[in-house]
């Protein structure tokens, strides 16, 4: 956590080009990501959901800051802790715009509720969805396993004359996988526009970062490939935005891949099944300190400094620092609550997939 506490001032930051509306939109998106998490955990506790939830609580600045500046044609490859990313991709084009290059909240909720309205028709769980059309690579449980896939996707894009980049998301633990090395090594040799965002939340399930990574910073791994290794304060949405946009510009100009390490802290368990044990295997002081720098609070402070938020507006919705059981709908902007309500309504009305679909789509039948 030491590095996360350091400020990372960058002169000529991309975020300085953001308009007031952009900054306020990022703040709203942070609320949306937080509310998605808070609300689903409440639903799970009522016994309404199947499977495990992987909370993105306290890591929302990485989700919003990384993808906010992407072009609609860029690709993302989210990991299990990035669930809001599926509906937040290209959200600047309008939350309810059906043509934007991201999933709808309805599709994502149908996936969470295990219904046929899911883009994957509820065939694989939680974050294991994606969309060719929306340029979202389908995640799996094999950590770092989508990095080579992402490399292949942008290879094909480049051969077709495109200039799309891909952001792949990974935990610090997955940087210990062999495929992490193979894929980045390959991408570096061929200068493919693959940006590996590492959400270093200090814990890989029950194992601390010191037992996963031998260096102080995960970004140091970049040195072995001769590529840039950026470090961002993962709690500060604008710092994440700055570092990722630097990496995006580097990649789009043909220089190749990079690693962006976002220092953060996993606020709760690995999944909701692990919350109780995580409270025991982690030092309470470490957890308290890790939750202290809430991305909502940091963004709010930045917006007050810029005078984008003033007077009552600045403190109307105070979700920061609250757990899912402490937070209520009053802590979130009504448009955020309404948006998720729409998604959940759709999910509840969506039918379960018919049983016989379990045997379908093993092979594509010849045309």
């Amino acid at each position: 956590m030491k590095s996360a506490m350091k400020p990372h001032p960058t002169p000529g930051r991309a975020s300085e080009q953001l308009t007031k509306e952009d900054c306020l939109e990022m703040f709203r998106q942070l609320y949306l990501a937080r509310y998605f998490d808070v609300r689903l955990i409440k639903e799970k506790k009522r016994g309404r959901l199947r499977g495990t939830l992987y909370s993105s609580h306290n890591q929302e600045a990485i989700i919003v800051g990384s993808i906010f500046g992407l072009r609609p044609t860029d690709w993302i490859s989210p990991v299990h802790r990035d669930m809001p990313m599926f509906f937040m991709k290209d959200m600047r084009a309008g939350w309810r715009n059906p043509d934007r290059m991201g999933m709808s909240i309805e599709e994502v909720c149908a996936q969470v509720w295990c219904k046929s309205g899911s883009p994957g028709r509820a065939r694989d769980n939680w974050s294991h969805i994606g969309s060719l059309e929306k340029r979202i690579i389908h995640s799996t449980s094999m950590l770092a396993g989508t990095i080579p896939v992402a490399a292949g996707v942008v290879l094909a894009d480049r051969l077709n004359g495109g200039d799309a980049v891909v952001l792949t998301f990974n935990g610090e633990g997955s940087t210990a996988q062999g495929i992490f090395h193979e894929a980045i090594n390959y991408a570096a040799i061929h200068k493919l526009p693959v940006i590996t965002v590492v959400e270093n939340n200090q814990w890989a399930y029950g194992t601390p970062v010191q037992l996963e990574v031998p260096t102080e910073d995960v970004a140091d791994r970049a040195k072995g490939y001769g590529i840039p290794g950026y470090i961002a304060d993962g709690q500060d949405v604008f710092d994440v935005y700055d570092k990722v946009m630097e990496a995006v510009e580097y990649a789009r100009s043909g220089k190749g891949p990079s690693i962006v390490e976002c220092k953060t802290f996993r606020a709760y368990g690995h999944g909701d099944h692990d919350d109780d044990r995580a409270a025991k295997y982690r030092d309470p002081h470490e957890v308290e300190e890790g939750r202290l720098r809430d991305p909502l609070a940091i963004c709010r402070r930045r917006l007050i400094e810029k005078s984008y938020l003033t007077a009552d507006d600045a403190i109307r919705f105070m979700a920061e620092g609250k757990s899912s059981s402490e937070a209520t709908t009053e802590d979130f902007p009504p448009e955020v609550v309404a948006y998720l309500d729409e998604g959940i309504r759709f999910a509840l009305a969506s039918p379960e997939p018919p049983a016989e679909e379990g045997g379908m789509w093993v092979f594509k039948e010849s045309e």
Binding site: I137, T140, P148, A151, G152, Y186, W361, V362, F363, K364
Partner: protein, 337 residues
């Protein structure tokens, strides 16, 4: 193969050339076709299957990859989901284990988990098989791993005609294919044959009857097709008429051709080069017992490698592998049951 004998020597092609022609023709016809692998461009492949392709189609389409089987297959998956048809070469099929996760969890499942959204036109091909002194890591037939992973086609040609026709069919199939090339056959003169001048494919999922017979069916694929043919010769000398079926494709399996043969012979020996336990011969026997038990006059018998790796020294290698003699013995046991 009988046609081969009549063809003029100069027009006959070996198994390796047939594979190269398949790649060349498909690359010519499909501008979205790529191949990726170790030493396949500058060198033209360790065995020369891709020789000349990089100079003809360029470095963007014939891509020299670092020694990273998982990255090769992963990148093939990514390029395929984004519209390319990709042939990924494993320098030896033994090394496919280094890319195992990408094959069974990423490539094989993509169509299923996306409910048909994402096609996976990828062929993972490479030299396979024993009998050449390749020892543990250059002799494997590990097809059973992939037959056991739903979503993969598994193909294994035994003739130049099939090598070309099946590779072309695999590249057009739209599903991921694991393609076993028998390296001992790459340059074998005896099996060279004239290939059609015009475009052709051998459809996946169709077995070939290599020799007709009435007393016992020998079911096999790959290099053991030739051991079975020799065994049928030896059996004929003892008055036993053997029918030889070359499966050509393991997934999907052509059960019809097997059952049709059993209706005639009522006896079966299934031969595979891989280890016995959970090998593909066991699957063939199980299918026969499931669906054609009534046709049998004797229990089916398998001839397989022992449950060992493939050792180096010739006597050791011969000891563990199927041979003509072992097949003859098995066939005689079955018909005399």
């Amino acid at each position: 193969m009988s046609a081969a004998a009549k063809a003029p020597e100069s027009l006959k092609k070996n198994y390796l050339t047939a594979l190269r022609e398949a790649l060349d023709e498909e690359f010519g016809a499909n501008p979205d076709a790529l191949c990726m692998g170790e030493d396949i461009g500058i060198l033209g492949g360790a065995f020369g299957v891709t020789e000349g392709l990089q100079s003809k189609y360029g470095k963007d389409r014939v891509i020299d990859m670092p020694i990273s089987e998982a990255a090769i297959i992963g990148a093939a998956v990514g390029a395929a989901m984004n519209g390319k048809t990709v042939v990924a070469e494993m320098q030896f099929i033994d090394f496919i284990s280094c890319g195992f996760d990408q094959i069974v969890n990423m490539m094989a499942t993509y169509y299923y988990r996306t409910a048909g959204e994402v096609n996976m036109p990828v062929v993972v091909r490479g030299p396979a098989g024993a009998y050449g002194g390749g020892a543990l890591y250059h002799s494997q037939m590990n097809e059973a791993w992939f037959c056991h992973s739903p979503g993969l086609r598994v193909v294994c040609p035994s003739t130049p005609y099939d090598a070309k026709g099946l590779l072309k069919a695999s590249m057009r199939d739209g599903n991921p294919v694991i393609f076993y090339e028998i390296k001992e056959l790459y340059r074998q003169r005896e099996i060279e044959e004239e290939l059609p001048a015009s475009d052709y494919i051998v459809p996946l999922g169709q077995a070939a009857v290599r020799r007709e017979g009435s007393d016992v069916t020998l079911v096999t694929y790959g290099n053991n097709v030739y051991h079975c043919l020799k065994a049928a010769d030896a059996l004929a000398e003892r008055g036993v008429s053997g029918e030889v079926i070359d499966l050509r494709t393991l997934v999907p399996l052509d059960e019809t051709t097997i059952f049709k043969s059993l209706a005639k012979t009522n006896h079966v020996v299934v031969v595979n080069e891989a280890p016995r336990t959970c090998g593909f011969a066991g699957e063939v026997v199980a299918r026969i017992c499931d669906s054609a038990f009534d046709l049998l006059d004797a229990p089916p018998v398998r001839v397989t490698r022992l449950d060992t790796p493939v050792p180096w020294a010739k006597p050791l290698e011969s000891f563990v592998l199927p041979s003509t003699e072992k097949i003859v013995d098995a066939a005689l046991r079955v018909v005399r049951f």
